[in-house]
Every structure is written in C-alpha cells, then in structure tokens.
C-alpha cells in the first residue's frame, strides 16, 4: 500500500485502487424525464431523494456485468425534505408523520435500495459533506472481498428552505450551500479487481486541515503521492462548490473515457477537512 507524508510529519496511507465496473447519474436539472424510470410503487409514496437514488442505482446495475453484494451511500444532508416535513407536522398539529420520520434517517436510501435490489451484504451510509464520496470509496476499499462489488451512490437534494436560509448563513456554510442547486444521484459499481477491469479509482481522506488553506493542502497531498506531476488536478476552489461536484466530475470523466490520471479534490467547510478522489483510466 503506498504511503505518503502529509502535514505535521504524520504518515497517512491511501486506500487501494478499485475498478469502476459501471457508472450512471440522475441530474434532474439536466433531464426532466428521469422520473419515467421510477416504478409506480415508489413514485406514488416515496421521497424524491429515494427515487433519485433508485434510478441512478438501477441504471448503473443495468450496465454492470456483476451484481453488487453491498451498498454504500454518500450523502451530506440525507433526506432533508423528510426531516423538515416531520418537524412541520410536530410544530403544526403536534403530530409528526411516522412515514416522514422513517425516511428522515440518513441511511433510509441505503435501506430502500437494499430492499428493492435484494442486496443483503454490508449497508453503509457515509455523511462527510463535500467529502462524502471520498469517504464512501474509502469505506468500500475496507470491505472484504466477498462483499464486493459494491454499489456506491452519492446523493443529495435541494429544498426550498435551503434557498431561503443561504443568505443568512455564515460565510463558511454559505460557501457550502449556495451552489448546491445541483441535486441528484451518481452511482458507481466498484470492485477490487485491478488490471484490465476498467478505470480505477481510489480516495484519500477526509483529512482534517483546520485553518490551513484547502487548495494548498490538496496540492501538497497530491504532490506527495504523485511526484512526477502527471496528474490533472481539480482543486476545491475550482469546483462549483456543490456536494455533488466530485461525483459528477468523476462520472463525466468516466463517460468521456478521458485517458490519464485525474485528482478531484474537495473541501468541507463544516468539518474543515479535505479529500481527494483519484481516477486513472
């Protein structure tokens, strides 16, 4: 396992490379017809964030030669609309809806996908803000061989309440949320078969940087891992700042079959931590 030196002279290891067997995305702002793929039973009753997760997962699995044995969800805020709806019920008439409460838990998407696709292995949900995909890939690399392939879905939703709050948030929160119009779900099926089994991905972090400058910290991290400087780097300040920036970029590079090594960096103002997802194809 490669090891790299990072700040404070502490040795931090990268995770192993994983193969991307397939990938897909649902970005409602770019395709109005995505709901056509939602089964009627889900369309009638289930939260929008579950539906986005379902369609992204179904598309990824349709194009995948192997069925996943585990599910890992990456989400910053989870089913925010359900949380708001439950509290509205409590504050309005004293009765919160049990359905809203059940769906409000951060792992409700993971549970629903397991139920729909009958994936009985490990079922994890990582909530690391802008660094959630890196966390999910890291968690995937920690699974046992028999638990792979893993279906990894990055998903977040935008709700009207967030739009109202953004102007009043602290600069750090504002930075985290003001560009978060890009709601959606991005799904990957990942395996630990290296070599000829498709493009490779791995992650570093999240790593806590405190008050250090995110771009400089990311650059130092990548340089220590790739001293030849052959990696194309996208720093946090150059992304659109949404929770889904990194998953969407990885998906676009994967679809375009762009060859080379790419490092997509993220910074979470909430945790003051950076992460890097590296794609090689």
């Amino acid at each position: 396992m490669p090891r790299l030196f990072f700040h404070m002279r502490i040795v931090v290891s990268s995770m192993e490379y994983l193969s991307i067997l397939s990938a897909s995305a649902v970005l409602p702002s770019q395709e109005a017809t995505w709901t056509d793929e939602v089964p009627t039973t889900l369309k009638r009753r289930d939260p929008r964030i579950w539906q986005m997760s379902y369609v992204a997962a179904a598309r990824a699995m349709k194009n995948c030669p192997e069925e996943p044995n585990s599910i890992i969800i990456a989400t910053a805020l989870g089913a925010l609309d359900e949380t708001k709806n439950f509290l509205d019920g409590v504050f309005t008439d004293g009765l919160g809806s049990p359905r809203n409460f059940i769906a409000s838990v951060h792992n409700s998407m993971a549970g629903k996908l397991a139920q729909e696709f009958k994936v009985a292995g490990p079922n994890l949900t990582l909530c690391d803000g802008h660094n959630s995909l890196a966390s999910a890939i890291g968690a995937c690399a920690l699974l046992k061989n028999e638990d792979l392939p893993a279906l990894v879905v990055a998903v977040d939703e935008n709700i009207e309440l967030l739009d109202r709050l953004i102007p009043y948030l602290s600069s750090e929160c504002k930075q985290a949320l003001e560009n978060n119009k890009q709601e959606g779900a991005v799904a990957f099926v990942l395996h630990n078969k290296g070599g000829n089994h498709g493009p490779l991905v791995r992650s570093f972090g999240p790593l806590f940087i405190g008050s250090r400058e995110p771009d400089k910290s990311c650059t130092a991290l990548i340089q220590s891992q790739n001293p030849d400087g052959q990696t194309a780097v996208s720093l946090p300040s150059r992304t659109d700042g949404s929770f889904l920036s990194v998953p969407i970029s990885i998906h676009e590079l994967f679809r375009a079959r762009s060859s080379g090594s790419f490092a997509l960096c993220s910074f979470s103002p909430s945790s003051k931590a950076i992460a890097v997802v590296e794609l090689c194809q």
Binding site: A76, F101, S104, S108, K112, L124, G129, L169, S170
Partner: protein, 390 residues
C-alpha cells in the same frame, strides 16, 4: 483479518461520566431512566429517558452531542502517552449530530421569520461531518469517517476502525458513538408507538417498547506499532465484524432474523470463532415486542442452544448510534472482570421468546458477541475477545 487490540475505552451515559461509574451501575442493575427534563417534548406525559445529568465542561463544543463525544473520546485516550508520532483517525457514529440546535432554530423560525438572521450561528454544526471535524481538532486527529446507519452505526464504526488499523491506514483509530436526546427522535419513535410509557423491559413478557437515552462511547484500537510506541497493553481485542441488510422492511425486523443471522455469522467467520466459542451475547435488546423476538430467533438460527445473553438498554437507554460503542465498552469491562452483566427491567419470561437473560454472575469470558440492528433493516455484529486471546 487480524484481531485488533483495544487499548482505551471511554463512556458517558445516564449512569455516570466515565467507564467505571457506568459499568458498576450496570452490574447493580441500576435503572438509568427518568421523566424527560432536558426539554419539553410536547407529549402529554414526559417520556422516561436515560439523560446525562452533567457533562464535564468541554472546550467550546458546539452542541450536546459534541460534548458527550469529546468526553468519551478523551477518556479513551487519556492514558495513552507518546502518541505524537502516530497517525490517529476517528470513526464517528451519529444519527442526531447537531439536530438539537437545528430543530430549535427551525421552531423559532416558524414562529418568527426574523429569526432567520441567526441561521449562520445555529446551523453551522447541522451536518454530521461537522461533529467529526470538531472532534479531530479537539483530539489532534488527522483523518476521519462519519457514519450514520441508524441504531447499528456504532458497531459499524468499530468495524471500520478495525479495518483502518489492520490495513495499516492509521496507527491508532478511535471509534466514537455519540447521540443526544432530541425532539426529532423522541417524537419520531413516539409516532411509531415504540416508546414504553413505563420504561423498557428487555425480553420481558410485559415489554412494550424502548426507552430512549443519550450518551457516548469510545474504543481506541491500536496497531502493533502503536502498542510498541505507547507501551500500553491491550484491554481486549476486536476480532470480528459482520454487516448485512434485511432487504425486508424499512422498520420491522425480519421475523426469523435472517439478516441479523447473516451479520453474526460474518463476524464469527472473521473472528475465526465457532458458535460454541461465544460465552455471552450483549444483545441489541431494545424491548420492542418484535425486535426481541426476531433477535432471539436469529441467535437460535446461528447458535442452536443460546449462550448467556444480556441487554443494557434499561440501564443506559437506547442511545441510538452511540449504543453499539457504549455497550461494546461495557462488554470489554465484562471480559476484563469476568462478570456477566444483569438485564435491568427484566422480570417475567415471555413464552414467545422462551428464554431469559442471564443473572449477574462471575464467569470466565473469552469471546463476547455484541449485536446492533437499525432502521432500513441494517444489521451489525462484532466479536470482542479477552486480552489473552490475541
């Protein structure tokens, strides 16, 4: 997969602000629940909950969950010296995170739109990852993961911490489970009619639901290098982790416990244990009518004849994401001291379960199975082994 040493433990719960106080109270089968006084739940009768009376002052913690987590994490690291040259990660398990402040803010916002000007201050720590960032800063940790898989989260955090150490990613890794009582969870479980108004009674014939609680547990896992550098001796080992999904229902457990059995078998396999090697099951034991039956059914599927088992939920409440780590901490104490903890709240056996939790007793314990199950059909199990079993 390796057996990974546990070299530090920490706990804060309704029973006390450290491991010793908490475990002693569990051995005395103390009732840790009382009518909710921390805030007004809006329910006609305040539910019985396990509340932490006083939390030691913790530097600038942004919310109650962070205060609890920092207290437990610091206890788990307190005696570990010479760790400056070691890489340290934390794996944080939480469901509530900063929700207590967010829900209070949202209530005020609904009443007074002008309150929106306080959004920056009140929502800064809403995201679960903010808790991990705060703890990293306070503990001088370098990397982290933030997990949220409902009531099973704590054990997954221990499992991931185990992997991070055994793969060499970090020298030390602290699994921290933390949750506080919140309006969302109290009203949520109440809406599902899952709260027992007279307090939870695990495995009892009269059981009628859970008692919510708050607290935090922390387990510090170490690599061989960390053992050499710190000179600290293992308290116990985390020897196996199993995870699975029921694929059955979003809240109800599979009646036969099929998913739970899958997780337990995976944990046994990783620990290189046979079912007969397990001396004690520290059950999830929430005391809902369905959960307790499903858990015992699952255990019978795996073990045939049941090992001794216990539940700690009446003593410390159901602390959600914290429960797995807190109860694992007390399971380490049970292994160290060779004592099977009692199950507070149990009085009358249930015919449907056809088994009773163990009485408090001295017994040499070599391997303890700890279970946790959660919404979404999420199952987790770990095996903790005696310090001599490394």
């Amino acid at each position: 997969m390796a057996h990974v040493p546990v070299i530090g433990i920490g706990a804060i719960s309704s029973l006390g602000n450290n491991v010793r106080q908490g475990f002693n109270a569990i051995l005395e089968a103390q009732d840790g629940i009382s009518p909710l006084y921390l805030f007004d739940s809006g329910l006609k009768t305040p539910p019985l909950c396990a509340q932490v009376c006083t939390i030691p002052v913790s530097d600038n913690a942004p919310n109650r969950t962070a205060s609890l987590a920092l207290c437990a994490a610091r206890e788990s690291l307190a005696h570990i010296e010479k760790r400056q040259s070691l890489s340290l990660a934390i794996v944080v398990a939480t469901t509530v995170a900063g929700m207590t402040r967010s829900e209070r803010f949202y209530k005020q916002l609904r009443q007074d739109p002008g309150h929106i000007e306080n959004a920056g201050r009140e929502l800064a720590f809403h995201e679960p990852t903010a808790l991990s960032g705060f703890l990293c800063g306070a503990l001088n940790a370098h990397g982290f993961y933030t997990l949220s898989t409902a009531c099973s989260t704590g054990l997954h955090a221990i499992g991931m911490a185990k992997r991070l150490v055994e793969t060499g990613a970090f020298d030390l890794c602290v699994a921290i489970g933390a949750d506080t009582l919140s309006l969302l969870t109290i009203r949520g479980f109440s809406s599902l009619l899952l709260i027992d108004p007279s307090g939870c009674k695990p495995f009892d014939a009269q059981r009628a639901g859970i008692s919510l609680g708050e607290g935090s547990g922390a387990l510090c896992l170490a690599s061989q290098k960390a053992l050499r550098v710190t000179g600290v001796r293992p308290l116990a080992f985390v020897s196996g982790w199993g995870a699975s999904a029921d694929c059955y229902h979003m809240t109800a457990p599979h009646p036969g416990g099929a998913g739970a059995a899958l997780a337990v078998r995976a944990a046994l396999k990783e620990a290189d244990c046979q079912p007969a090697d397990i001396d004690l099951i520290a059950t999830h034991g929430t005391a809902t009518p369905d959960n307790d039956v499903a858990e015992i059914n699952a255990m019978r599927t795996v073990f045939g004849k049941l090992p001794l088992f216990c539940s700690m939920k009446r003593s410390i409440g159901h602390t959600l994401a914290a429960s797995g780590v807190l109860e694992a901490v007390f399971s380490v104490c049970a292994l160290q001291q060779g004592i099977v903890p009692p199950t507070a709240g149990f009085a009358q056996p249930d015919e449907k379960i056809n088994a009773a939790p163990a009485q408090v007793q001295r017994k040499e314990l070599r391997h303890v199975l700890k279970n946790s199950f959660g919404f979404g059909g999420n199952n987790a199990a770990i095996i903790l082994s005696h310090a001599d079993c490394g």
